[in-house]
Symmetry: C2
Subunit: 193 residues, 2 copies
DNA sequence: TGTACATCAGTGAACGCGCGTTCACTGATGTAC
DNA sequence: TGTACATCAGTGAACGCGCGTTCACTGATGTAC
């Protein structure tokens, strides 16, 4: 099968995107190479003509997901500012669909246990997300942006882990209120607090 | 080998505690039953006279860890109030030693993918931790307590995942500042913010 | 234009390994005599 | 007090399975003649 130049590239992207969704839904360890390739309509043997190792795919999948998340959040912030960004991140739909959501919220703890290159790639994309928040703050401030991101990630994770749906909703609401408060404190320049 | 009544109980506890530490350091999937039992000084065959399944051990390990964390944080809050609680949770030593730390910070995303009983046990212990925060707030408020816990969990997770140690430190600092601000807002009754 | 061929994306069998789980067994010890 | 025995925590071989990875191969297609 000799295909034109773009063919392999298209396949590669399809594998990365399938992997991205499944990693975030099932966890990095629970998705096997063979099963994943089958899901992408291929056989497992071809995997290593696309990626040097599963770890390399993990890195690509995280980067791809974080870039998509960045682009989406950019648009949301463009339209509705940082407040809408916060509400969008903490919407129940994000909690309920990790496969379509933010890789930081789905995989942060697992990424911490992976290779240096994987963590470095994640770090770069995390920085961008934090910068996006910072730039949208009434009075741009990196520490506030970092804290808001931590609150968003923690609230989504806890809302996913608890088995009581009422508590789950309340975690999202509490995260939203707190993140919005941090924005308002930033606007009001309440540094003394 | 016939032992007195307390013997099996002691062994059981040793396995749970070994598991607890290793799960939080290496992840739930990365720790195998055989390897874990060896680490506890036993052979893998005996595992099923202690636990009906690996999942049951996971549940016990999480409960055990959360109870130890609760007790430790209780003491810290007793001595230094909610502010010291926050500083203690976000100390670099907690980031650097997940095996001795909070299960929520180490495993929240993975717990979300596990069995209902495991998640229910985690939920109960999470509630207790949040109640502990709430009770220590200047003006007890569940939503603020939930938001503080989300911020702590998110900050630890991100500080562990990023590969840049400076950014990692800044994540902890930002989380601390934000959580302390939420406490001060609670004290000042700044609900309008 | 028609044909022969080189390319190379994708195939599928095979590798050693560790996984969770089962089970017939062992042997040190508390207890009954 | 001394001995025979029942108990049962722990042993280790074995199960089928999926893991990540390797590699000799296939065969459709773009290209050179």
């Amino acid at each position: 099968m000799r295909y034109d130049k773009s063919h392999k590239e298209t396949t590669h992207r399809r594998v990365v995107e399938t992997a991205s969704a499944r990693f975030q839904k099932e966890g990095l360890d629970s998705v096997g190479v063979a099963n994943l390739m089958k899901d992408a309509g291929l056989t497992h043997g071809g995997f290593y003509s696309h990626f040097p190792s599963k770890e390399a795919l993990i890195e690509e999948a995280i980067v791809s997901s974080m870039e998509a998340t960045f682009a989406r959040l950019c648009r949301v912030a463009e339209d509705g500012g940082i407040e809408e960004f916060i509400r969008y991140y903490l919407r129940p739909g994000h909690r309920d669909h990790p496969e379509k959501g933010c890789a930081a919220a789905a995989l942060a703890a697992e990424i911490a246990r992976h290779s240096k290159p994987t963590r470095a790639a994640f770090t770069e994309k995390t920085r961008k997300l934090i910068s996006l928040i910072e730039a949208r703050l009434p009075k741009p401030d990196a520490a506030t942006a970092r804290a808001i991101f931590a609150t968003l990630v923690g609230a989504i994770q806890l809302s996913r882990a608890v088995s009581d749906s009422k508590l789950s909703d309340k975690m999202l609401e509490a995260g939203e209120t707190a993140a919005l408060s941090l924005v308002r404190m930033n606007r009001a320049d309440l540094r003394f607090l």
